[in-house]
């Protein structure tokens, strides 16, 4: 926090365009009690930001957000102590909101964050900031309490800090004549623990569903027997567009993680995995009169059409 009360978060987690800078800013703004607009998040520069492992494995809010939370907590502790001295009130009687520190139930007795911050920087040796390390900077890492890579007595490890999940239901229509599968609806109940920003989680999930449906119906990297890639352009590696993706109806179930400070779980990988089982199951269900069994993806029109023909052939015998 600078002397003007502006907050800068320098973090080692990065954003590939998914919006975690916004989630981290929300966490820090809430923890400090400042306005969101006063929080600036800087990522992706090794000379400016502390060493971090970056963005992978749904870790940016879970790890980066938790580290930012504990750094903010440390800043808040100092600010509140100085404010308490200024307001002649015990620190536990203060509350921070929207950039102001108030005495509970005495709304007129307050001081702004920037006044306190300026005091800490400029008057470190004066009455209210005695016995305190100058400056308002904190660097914190976050260690998950439940991850362990050292095998236990049964040789087991726990590779991941959280296990978010989703129950998914897909509705499809199959064209008997062409084998074309058309997704009609995709309904999901998703649990990533406490949700920092529902809009951004929804965006992650929608993108995941688009990639999952692309994977199960359209996208395939095919090789011939000489190891030559046959699908090396977008003419033959067919990505779905918005037209191929049905409306995603998403609901949040929240069972907080007991292992993270805010109860969050990861959300970056959600939405992809369920598409395979849900669509394959839906196609089998649509074609129940033919009793087909799908054992291989992708569900290209050729594959589905062939399965229908084989089933018809069998029923004639």
């Amino acid at each position: 926090m600078s002397p003007t009360g502006q907050v800068t978060v320098l973090t080692g987690v990065t954003s590939p365009g998914s919006g975690n800078e916004t989630g981290i800013a929300q966490i820090v703004a809430d923890e400090l009690g400042v306005k969101l607009g006063d929080v600036n998040v800087i990522q992706g520069d090794t000379t400016i930001c502390p060493y971090g492992l970056g963005n992978y494995s749904s870790r940016s809010i879970l790890i980066g957000g938790s580290a930012a939370l504990s750094a903010a907590r440390e800043i808040r502790y100092k600010v509140v102590r100085v404010a308490a001295s200024m307001l002649e009130t015990p620190p536990e009687d203060l509350e921070c909101e929207q950039g102001r520190i108030r005495v509970k139930r005495q709304p007129d007795k307050e001081v702004a964050f920037n006044e306190v911050a300026r005091y800490i920087y400029r008057r470190a040796y004066d009455r209210h900031a005695l016995d305190m390390e100058p400056g308002l900077e904190s660097t914190r890492y976050f260690r998950m309490p439940n991850t362990h890579h050292l095998p236990d007595e049964y040789g087991r490890i726990n590779a991941y800090p959280s296990y978010p999940y989703a129950a998914c239901v897909a509705l499809v229509e199959v064209d008997l004549h062409t084998g074309v599968v058309t997704p009609l609806r995709y309904v999901a109940v998703h649990d990533c623990g406490v949700v920092i920003n529902p809009l951004l989680v929804e965006g992650q999930f929608h993108g995941g569903v688009a990639q999952g449906i692309g994977g199960v119906l359209y996208e395939q990297l095919s090789y011939d027997e000489n190891g030559q890639l046959l699908t090396g352009t977008f003419m033959d590696y067919t990505l779905p567009t918005a037209v191929e993706i049905p409306p995603v109806e998403l609901y949040h179930q929240v069972t907080p993680s007991p292992f993270t400070p805010l109860g969050t779980k990861g959300a970056g990988e959600s939405g992809v995995s369920g598409c395979f089982g849900a669509l394959v199951s839906a196609v089998e269900d649509a074609l129940a009169p033919f009793a087909i069994q799908i054992r291989e993806t992708p569900l290209t029109p050729q594959r589905v059409w062939r399965l229908i023909q084989e089933a018809k052939g069998k029923s004639k015998l």
């Binding site: 990065t14 590939p16 800078e21 800013a25 929300q26 992706g44 000379t47 060493y51 970056g54 963005n55 494995s57 929207q98 095998p151 049964y154 087991r156 590779a159 999940y165 129950a167 998914c168 239901v169 897909a170 499809v172 199959v174 009609l184 649990d191 406490v194 920092i196 920003n197 529902p198 989680v201 929804e202 990639q211 692309g214 996208e219 090789y223 190891g227 030559q228 890639l229 699908t231 090396g232 352009t233 990505l239 609901y251 949040h252 069972t255 907080p256 007991p258 990861g266 990988e269 992809v272 995995s273 369920g274 089982g277 849900a278 199951s281 269900d285 649509a286 054992r295 993806t297 992708p298």
Partner: protein, 483 residues
């Protein structure tokens, strides 16, 4: 931790944006659908990506790639390319061996008791997949760079190609890495409970196979880099479309034999990663080396066909599973034999996805007796790279298939079989056989809600009605477990 504290809200509901309610006390930002702080910039086209970085005197890199899936490099003749008036520098494996260290691998299989090999920025002797980098050059512009690529003459001696992972494991199949004596990079085995007893005691045992095909992510922005080397300071700056700037910096220091303090990695805005922009790529130290050798900045923007050919693939797995269950739908045992075709070995972390698949089985289900046996196999195809899901999607698909097959065999409802086998809310944290410790949840409630919202109860009737009209609609269920 279980269902007690669970609540449910629909995305876009009023209560998602409580702090905007008029006259109400200010409530936390957490839980609120605050629009992305960068939205106005990104949506208006004002984002700054690596392709937007342009420096004075900047040259362009192009990479010669193997046209063969498996071959020995006999000779490389660069004379004509070197004499091209716009070419600044050409490098081959020989230069690389002299000037750089092997690239430290994202996950080195040798550290886990597997087989491995050193990987440099360019192939030194054999090429093992179509697109493997063989030589590189820098020219004044992209067109000259593309033109000069054709002037580099590489003579290859073709070697036998292995494209089928199950055949790759057969005794008489040629090895990609002859000193391994096998094409199995790593074998993984998890076992818990009394598997054989469970199978002996089960009412039913069912066996099947599922195959998931190879595909990948295709971010709007492919890989992109600009490297600049300051000879006076001995410092290197790399603008990179990457997910992990610091680990990339460390990799560059180790590969290029530079002090890490002299390197800066800057990540401009990134147009999608999905795991695919996790270093180390061979092109990363390669472009930095070329900037250092030429003394001028160098840019490389991956072409789409390069992206699909070499940026990394995912998902290709075969599962032969056997499941033991009771008449009431309770699954008591599962055996899964997995063969993962991870392509050739590279510096990328992708093969780790196969490990993760085996690690998360049996997913959200409480199946006390499990045995998972995984062969991670190399073939003459593009190496795997991290792709969103990172192996959990294969495990989810397997478990969905298992549950559907059990339901079909017993004539039971697909949702009911899942509900019967879920880890119950009171059992968290619940440790699976691998050690994967599921944190919290109420799986049955989530599934029931999804079914209700989807109109499951009346679907069969609707399906029947539509079939009468010649329309074939179906409903499918999945329960995905992520991490």
């Amino acid at each position: 931790m279980g269902g007690k504290g669970a609540y449910l809200s629909r995305c876009g509901d009023e209560k998602d944006t409580p702090n905007q309610a008029e006259g109400a006390a200010v409530v936390p930002y957490i839980g609120s659908s605050v629009p992305g702080l960068l939205d106005s910039q990104l949506v208006a086209g004002r984002g700054r990506y690596t392709a937007d970085v342009s420096l004075p005197g900047m040259g362009y890199m192009a990479v010669v790639r193997s046209p063969y899936a498996h071959a020995r490099i006999v000779s490389i003749d660069v004379r004509e390319a070197v004499n091209h008036p716009q070419v600044r520098r050409v490098v081959t494996g020989e230069d690389i061996k002299k000037l750089t260290n092997p690239i430290p691998q994202g996950i080195d299989p040798r550290a886990f008791g597997g087989k491995g090999t050193d990987v440099y920025c360019l192939a030194l002797d054999d090429v093992r997949y179509v697109g493997e980098p063989v030589a590189a050059l820098v020219a004044d512009d992209q067109y000259a760079a593309a033109e000069a690529l054709d002037l580099i003459q590489v003579e290859y001696e073709e070697l036998p190609v292995v494209v089928d992972a199950e055949k790759a494991l057969a005794a008489n199949t040629p090895c990609l890495y002859p000193d391994w004596g096998t094409n199995e990079m790593l074998h993984v085995h998890f076992q818990g409970g009394e598997v054989n007893t469970a199978f002996a005691e089960a009412d039913h045992v069912l066996e099947d196979t599922v195959r998931m095909h190879r595909h990948t992510g295709a971010p709007l922005e492919p890989r992109a880099y600009v490297a600049a080397y300051d000879r006076r300071e001995g410092s290197l700056t790399l603008w990179a479309s990457t997910q992990n700037p610091h680990p990339l910096r460390t990799t560059l220091a180790q590969t290029l034999k530079l002090p890490e303090g002299n390197i800066r990695v800057i990540q401009p805005q990134v147009g999608g990663g999905f795991g695919l922009k996790t270093p180390p790529f061979q092109e990363e130290p390669l472009i930095c080396l070329l900037a250092r050798l030429t003394g001028k900045p160098v840019k490389w923007i991956e072409e789409r066909n390069e992206h699909l050919m070499v940026c990394g693939h995912a998902r290709e797995q075969i599962h032969h599973f056997t499941v033991a269950f009771r008449q009431d739908g309770t699954v008591i045992g599962l055996k899964d034999r997995i063969v993962a075709d991870v392509g050739a070995l590279s510096t990328l972390i992708g093969w780790g996805m196969a490990f993760v698949t085996s690690f998360v089985i049996p997913g959200p289900y409480k199946i006390p007796h499990c045995e998972v046996d995984l062969s991670i196999v190399v073939t003459n195809k593009c190496p795997w790279n991290a792709y969103r899901g990172f192996g959990k999607e294969n495990a989810t698909f397997l478990m969905d298939r298992v549950m559907d097959r059990v339901a079909a065999h017993l004539g039971m409802d697909r949702a009911a079989v899942r509900a019967k086998n879920f880890v119950p809310p009171q059992a968290f944290p619940y440790t699976q056989i691998s050690g994967a410790t599921l944190d919290s949840g109420n799986y049955a409630e989530a599934l029931q809600t999804a079914l209700t919202k989807a109109g499951y109860e009346n679907f069969a009737e609707e399906q029947k009605r539509l079939r009468g009209q010649g329309r074939y609609v179906g409903l499918g269920i999945s329960f995905e477990l992520n991490a």
